[in-house]
């Protein structure tokens, strides 16, 4: 026995511990039971008078437009969340809610106690619009809940249904309206753009007309024309030179013939005379040509080697012309020219002149004509070239203006085209909305009549009351025990005094006291059970209240 007792010291320890608490509890049973019952009863009463609230809820699906959006781009593409927010604001407006309150006879009890504004605020607090978030796709809104909390389940359902239809109707109407107004706006914009475009086009036209030929787009062509004109001029000049050489040659030939004729006949005075004048002018011409050639030669040799074909030909020509000048000089020395020019009537063919001379003369005449014609051509070409040069000089200036005008015109055209496209799209989208084929709200779950009240329901309140009662009872016991300053037992006393404790006399009850104690404890038990039953019964009663 004794050994067994010593072995299980830890369990004995816990036994002492438990016994201590059992004793405290037995002593403080009423300190526990009374607050416990009072709080429990209070919980039951609270549960009984607690206004039950019912929440009805409907789920609305946001249906995407039926025609794929790559075919018809929707006109109303603002963020669904923000649209839902504005919609909520609109629908929960004071006037609308007031109408709902009046139609459904909501808050009948508070009607005469509170102002309409308070009621509207109250109702707003009882309406919840909550988007359904798809986990992982926070930005996408595909459905939302509408719910309303009311004291009566039927009202909750009816008001929720009404709110749901308000939302759907509002969405449909505002979408169609928004879409139509977008289209109308685009239409006026398009008109403005068309006007602008035609103005710009006219401006461009005028500019082109005014600066025809000098337009930058004609620059290349002008350059080509210029080149061809220059080559033509070159050709004409060459031709002119050749003709003049020929003329010089013919003149020299004729004068030779005349010299021969004078030598042969004596009638070459006139010819000589004329020939003399001719010869001096010819000499001057030839010398000028020779000077020119020499100059050219110098410039050429400055640039090219002696093998360069131009250098070679120029050299040959110089040689030719040197011989011609020498001939002319010798000829002039032979017949010294009279300083006063004879009154020659022109080289009219002399019937007495030899056919060779006549031939040369006629040749000369033809050459002269040719030279005149060539000179005319040259003049004309030079004029044209000058004109072209003017134009080409003007072109860069014009180019800037032209670029400006044509840019304006292009912009106007682009603007017009994009507006046109948009307007057409918008027209299509509006038609879609009007045929109710666009994005739509569809009721997925219509509002149900809630068959359970919102938490906390009466059961929960009663249970909370019980739990709080037990906690309160324990708290009160602990408090009483803590505040109790009486001596509790031997160890307690030992701690406080040095005086020896001679004995501890346990409570002794005589038979009368014992009987009284038993009776008393029975009564206590009965009262306690009765109290607990009252608490439990009232709790159950409260729970069962409809």
């Amino acid at each position: 026995m004794t050994t067994n007792l010593m072995e299980d010291a830890p369990s004995a320890q816990t036994e002492i511990f438990l016994a201590h608490y059992r004793k405290v509890f037995a002593r403080r049973r009423w300190s526990f039971l009374l607050p416990c019952c009072v709080i429990g009863l209070a919980g039951a009463v609270a549960a009984y008078v607690w206004p039950l609230k019912y929440q009805s809820d409907s789920l609305i699906l946001i249906e995407q437009q039926k025609v794929p959006s790559q075919y018809v781009k929707p006109n109303v593409v603002s963020d669904l969340q923000s649209r839902l927010d504005t919609m909520t604001q609109q629908i929960l407006s004071r006037t609308r809610l007031q109408k709902l309150i009046e139609d459904f006879h909501l808050y009948a009890g508070e009607r005469n106690k509170e102002t309409m504004d308070d009621l509207v605020d109250k109702m707003r607090g009882n309406i919840f619009v909550q988007p359904v978030q798809i986990p992982g796709r926070q930005d996408q809104l595909t459905a939302f809940h509408i719910s309303y909390i009311s004291r009566s389940p039927d009202t909750a359902q009816r008001v929720t249904n009404e709110l749901t239809s308000l939302f759907i109707e509002y969405n449909l109407r505002t979408r169609a309206e928004d879409s139509a107004s977008t289209t109308a706006f685009l239409r006026t914009e398009l008109q403005a753009a068309a006007d602008e475009l035609s103005t710009q086009e006219h401006r461009l036209q005028d500019f082109k007309m005014k600066n025809l030929g000098a337009l930058p787009e004609q620059f290349e062509a002008n350059l080509q024309v210029m080149a061809s004109l220059e080559s033509q001029l070159q050709a004409v000049t060459n031709e002119l030179q050749r003709a003049e050489q020929q003329k010089v040659y013919l003149i020299s030939i004729r004068s030779e013939y005349e010299a021969i004729g004078r030598a042969a006949g004596g009638r070459g005075m006139l010819v000589a005379g004329t020939d003399g004048t001719h010869r001096s002018s010819d000499l001057a011409n030839a010398e000028a040509t020779l000077r020119d050639l020499k100059k050219r030669y110098e410039s050429l040799t400055g640039q090219y080697t002696s093998e360069f074909p131009d250098v070679i030909t120029t050299k040959k020509e110089i040689a030719h012309w040197e011989s011609v000048v020498a001939d002319l000089k010798t000829a002039a020395a032979k017949s010294p020219a009279s300083p006063s020019p004879s009154p020659a009537q022109g080289p009219a063919p002399d019937p007495g002149v030899s056919p060779a001379i006549a031939d040369a003369t006629s040749h000369l005449k033809a050459i002269d004509l040719e030279i005149a014609a060539q000179k005319r051509d040259q003049m004309m070409l030079q004029k044209q070239i000058a004109l072209m040069q003017d134009r080409l000089k003007e072109t860069p200036l014009l180019e800037q203006q032209f670029a400006e005008i044509s840019r304006d015109c292009d912009n106007a055209r682009l603007n017009y085209q994009s507006l046109l496209q948009k307007q057409q799209q918008s027209e299509l989208a509006t038609q879609l909305e009007q045929r109710q084929q666009g994005e739509q709200f569809r009721v997925l779950d219509p509002a149900k009549r809630p068959d359970k009240a919102m938490p906390p329901n009466r059961l929960q309140i009663v249970l909370i009351g019980w739990v709080l009662g037990v906690i309160g009872g324990f708290g009160w016991v602990v408090l009483r025990e803590f505040l109790d300053s009486t001596i509790r037992g031997k160890s307690d006393l030992e701690l406080r005094t040095q005086v020896p404790i001679l004995a501890c006399i346990p409570t002794h009850l005589n038979s009368v006291q014992e009987r009284r104690r038993i009776r008393r404890s029975r009564l206590e038990l009965a009262v306690g059970v009765l109290l607990v039953l009252i608490v439990i019964g009232s709790g159950i009663g409260s729970m069962l209240r409809a």
Partner: protein
């Protein structure tokens, strides 16, 4: 049930389980313990007139209905604790001579009277000559605890009207002599501060081995201080769940001029210790053994 009976019943229910002073003598007197009938409160005069003293011996009621639990034939936890108290006092006396013990406490209702009576009974059972004096001249209750008629006693002795010897009556079956409080005509404090106290103490001291004196509470009366000064040792009673910690300290402080033999913790339920379990097992084993002895023969046959 009549309304009056209801009132009486309810009154008893809500009265402290320790009982009232006035009721005890009546319960003891009819001896059957029927407090239900007691709607009439018995008075001091009642008891005095009814008192019957047969040949100078008081017969105490020591049955289960009394608060006297320290008899040689009982064996409960309460009388074991009193035996321990008596033993400890004997041990103290081996070291220092003492004969007169004053039982006191800070306030009323702590169990001074009950402890004094039971201590006297236990000491008497152990070692012969013991006297119990009811020194509570203000609210005497020793007679009530013992269930004996109220007689003149200590107060009369102090007033020099009667001798100590003629009022010291033996109490059967507890074998100690009792000097009751009596009825003081003057202020008890005055009586106790007078010269007679010493004489009475001397007279008693020569005749008895132990003299146990019950006293009124230390506050607000001076009586207990006077008695303590005249005695050899003081026993302080502390009632568990009743006496506050401060009052214990104050009491001990006020008794620092006299010898305090120790504290008796009254009404303390046995502290839980492994030995408590052992103790209860020991007791139940004893009961089992007794049962086995009584029907041992039959058990052997089966």
């Amino acid at each position: 049930m009549a309304a009056g009976e209801w009132g009486g019943t309810l009154k008893r229910i809500f009265q402290n389980g320790n009982g009232s002073h006035a009721e005890q003598p009546r319960t003891a007197r009819n001896g059957r313990g029927q407090p239900e009938d007691g709607a009439v409160q018995p008075t001091f005069a009642d008891n005095f007139c009814d008192a019957t003293v047969s040949r100078g011996v008081l017969t105490a009621s020591t049955g289960p209905e009394s608060m006297v639990f320290s008899r040689s034939d009982t064996r409960g936890p309460a009388d074991e604790s009193l035996r321990l108290l008596a033993h400890r006092l004997q041990r103290i006396r081996e070291r220092r001579p003492m004969k007169t013990l004053v039982v006191t406490s800070a306030s009323p209702k702590e169990g001074k009277t009950v402890v004094a009576v039971n201590l006297a009974a236990t000491l008497a059972a152990n070692s012969g000559r013991v006297a119990l004096i009811d020194g509570d001249l203000r609210c005497a209750y020793v007679a009530g605890v013992l269930g004996v008629p109220v007689l003149p006693g200590f107060a009369e002795c102090l007033e020099e009207e009667q001798s100590v010897e003629e009022n010291l009556l033996p109490v059967s079956p507890l074998s100690f002599d009792l000097l009751q409080a009596g009825a003081a005509k003057r202020n008890p404090a005055e009586l106790l501060q007078g010269p007679r106290l010493k004489e009475v103490a001397m007279t008693l001291g020569s005749k008895y081995d132990w003299i146990v004196i019950d006293t009124p509470p230390l506050t607000p009366f001076v009586d207990a201080q006077c008695l303590a000064a005249a005695a050899d040792a003081v026993i302080v009673v502390v009632r568990a769940g009743h006496t506050s910690r401060d009052s214990v300290a104050r009491t001990l402080e006020s008794l620092k001029d006299v010898y305090v033999a120790g504290i008796v913790l009254n009404g303390a339920d046995a502290e839980h210790s492994p030995y408590y379990k052992y103790y209860s097992q020991y007791r139940s084993n004893g009961a089992l053994a007794a049962a086995a002895v009584s029907n041992g023969g039959r058990a052997g046959h089966d």
